[in-house]
């Protein structure tokens, strides 16, 4: 049994909240850079060039890439041989978010109650997904999620008869409906299968997969490529102002499902597809 102090989790998550809001992962950065080369429309080129300048300023001057520094979504993969000591793990995670957002000059965008809507003032609570895995390590992924794109996400409970064509239509229709609202060029996270909530969680997790890493399932990898091509022929373009680069990637995760169902969840993410990954 390996012991890990929860204060280490707090300190790590604090750093990761700040890092994710100022620096994109290398795969996202590279994909945005190459997009500028493939864009054909003048306005699209201009927007992509502004996004390059924006990333540069964000990193050099420590100004968040986007003012919507998101609701903190945390994926925690905990090795089953780990024993957390020194306090309550969940509270340690929330404290990490609190310190990251308060000390890191990040925006406080969380309201305590969805209907009463009073800001909590420290961006807590975050949304935490736990997974128990073999081993004695802890993998932490911090993915601050902005709501311009989150609001344009959908869960479709399709019928088995809708099949792969139905799934494709659901995904493309979601991206088209999102249009300029989701801050294109977007990354499209998709979860197919499972149950209602499993599909949605897979869609969210798919956004944390590097955009240059296709699915390990061959037909799913082909589907990702095909859908990216289809979406980028629709002309929405950077900023929704017209152009060839509407999406940077389509990442699809799948899971077994019920004989009666075909859940398809589409989690839209803007070009500021932020996440930071560390292993303790």
């Amino acid at each position: 049994m390996r012991e890990i102090e929860v204060s280490t989790v707090t300190a790590t998550i604090k750093d990761m909240c700040i890092e994710a809001n100022h620096f994109l992962t290398p795969d996202m950065k590279a994909r945005l850079e190459s997009a500028a080369g493939t864009e054909t429309s003048p306005v699209g080129k201009k927007v992509l060039s502004q996004l390059q300048d924006n990333l540069k300023i964000a990193g050099e001057e420590m100004i968040p890439i986007c003012q919507d520094t998101g609701m903190a979504v945390i994926f925690l993969e905990v090795g089953q041989d780990v024993h957390f000591i020194g306090g309550d793990l969940e509270e340690a995670i929330q404290e990490g978010i609190r310190r990251g957002y308060v000390d890191g000059y990040l925006r406080k965008s969380v309201v305590k109650d969805p209907l009463i809507r009073e800001n909590t003032g420290d961006n807590t609570p975050g949304v935490i997904h736990y997974k128990i895995v073999p081993g004695d390590k802890v993998k932490i992924t911090v993915a601050p999620k902005g709501f311009g794109s989150e609001n344009m996400s959908r869960v479709w409970m399709l019928k088995p008869a809708d099949g792969i064509e139905g799934a494709k239509k659901a995904i493309v229709d979601t991206v088209l409906e999102a249009g300029p609202n989701a801050c294109p060029p977007v990354v499209v996270g998709v979860g197919i299968g499972g149950t209602f909530e499993k599909a949605a969680e897979m869609a969210k997790e798919a956004l944390t997969r590097p955009v240059d890493t296709p699915s390990t399932v061959p037909y799913v990898a082909d589907l990702e490529k095909e859908l990216l091509g289809t979406i980028n022929k629709r002309g929405i373009g950077p900023g929704g102002l017209g152009g060839a680069v509407t999406a940077l990637a389509v990442n699809i995760n799948t899971y077994a499902t019920h004989i009666a169902g075909l859940p398809v969840a589409v989690n839209m993410c803007c070009h500021v597809n932020r996440h930071s990954v560390r292993v303790l």
Binding site: I63, N119, P180, N181
Partner: protein, 188 residues
């Protein structure tokens, strides 16, 4: 669609200048603008429902849908890009009818907003969503003028210099997003 040159516009601008703008025009705004987003709009609407005055004179002003991240020491403001305008649609026609000259945001607007833009000779500008660090460099100063308790959602008066926007809806009824949506690349 507008020319490829960038138009420099001092704001607040005259109704005549605003009416000349056309969808696709790239414009650099300099002068004074105000911020307001969801919670401030709700509160302004409640204020009007009670028959009271808005906390600032909205006539002739451009309202920027934006809630900044906190300013680091020595800076006027933090990251400061546009939020989705669609969520303000419910409140917008009334504000345009009261004399608000235009809006800066990103994302689609309702038919009611489009009609109010035409009716009042207004304009809807888009700034690039997710470029908050870059856009913050065009903001010279920021001062909370109302609803301080709303934090990032307070109403701020901003001084801007060459703040880059694109005209998405104009006084002639033009809608750049609709044109883009109707022109997939496969048809070209």
């Amino acid at each position: 669609m507008g020319s490829s040159d960038v138009i420099s516009l001092q704001v607040p601008a005259s109704p005549e200048e605003l009416k000349k703008l056309r969808i696709g025009d790239a414009v650099n705004l300099s002068g004074t603008i105000y911020t307001a987003r969801d919670a401030a709009h709700k509160r302004m609407d409640e204020t009007l429902e009670r028959g009271e005055e808005l906390p600032f004179d909205i006539r002739g002003q451009i309202v920027y849908y934006m809630g900044p991240s906190p300013a680091r020491p020595g800076r006027p403001i933090g990251s400061a890009g546009p939020t989705t305008a669609t969520r303000m649609d419910r409140y917008t026609p009334r504000l345009l009818d009261l004399g608000m000259a235009g809006m800066i945001g990103k994302g689609k607007r309702s038919k009611a907003v489009a009609d109010a833009v035409v009716r009042n000779g207004g304009v809807y500008f888009a700034a690039v969503g997710g470029a908050g660090a870059l856009l913050s460099k065009a903001i010279v100063s920021s001062e909370v003028v109302a609803y301080d308790d709303l934090g990032t959602e307070a109403i701020r008066k901003l001084e801007v210099k060459d703040f880059p926007v694109i005209v998405v809806m104009d006084a002639e009824g033009g809608d750049l997003y609709a044109e883009v949506g109707n022109n997939p690349l496969t048809n070209k």
